[in-house]
Subunit: 128 residues, 2 copies
């Protein structure tokens, strides 16, 4: 199936990227925010397995390729301006490289950042 | 209360911006993605009313200033790398300028984009 109509509707930025929010499809947890280029979106739609573009490594990043903590795509949605994506996913294990379920584990409370979630698995177990 | 410790933990990009996801605090709906600069985050933390930075207008954008559809901040969270924010909010009315509850109303289905939500209010009623 061609996904050109979808890809053409995405307003990639000057670096060819678009921010993508990953949300666990059934619980509503916001797991992480990462970036995709056109190739990453195309691969994700074609395979059903979420692939991002790693800005730090400068290459495609198939989520879970090192850690095994993959994301199965349930649905990809585009916002009104076409410059942000919402990925409804089924997350295997944990989304965060720190071993936490999601990346947003620091909350602003009383003028400071408070850690509100502990790792469920050690990074060494994920990447060791 | 000083929020400097929180502001200093945010990794703003080369343009001084950070992407912020707004999520309805009780239902888990992802409402929108917008951008904040340091001043917008500081004002949001100080007032409890969400203020973004509009990239198209090049100025602070107090959500709801034109439409009345404001966002009350429930909690601000920072991700593991400090380069994305999750705002738990209480959204008055609709988040999207099209009159829809949220901005992610286009779903990729069968190789095309399908509108999966209708406006709850007309843009004319919001901005007229």
């Amino acid at each position: 199936m061609s996904h050109d109509a979808i890809l053409d509707a995405i307003a990639f930025d000057g670096q060819g990227l678009v921010p993508a929010i990953a949300q666990q499809h059934d619980t509503g947890e916001v797991l992480m925010l990462a970036w995709m280029n056109r190739e990453a979106v195309a691969e994700t739609l074609a395979t059903g397995r979420v692939c991002y573009f790693s800005r730090s490594r400068g290459r495609l990043w198939r989520k879970g390729e090192s850690s095994g903590q993959a994301q199965r795509l349930v649905e990809l949605r585009l916002d009104c301006d076409g410059d942000a994506l919402l990925l409804l996913v089924d997350q295997t294990g944990v989304a965060c490289h720190t071993g936490r379920r999601d990346c947003f584990f620091r909350a602003a409370r009383n003028g400071a950042l408070e850690e509100i979630a502990a790792p469920l698995v050690s990074p060494e177990a994920l990447y060791g």
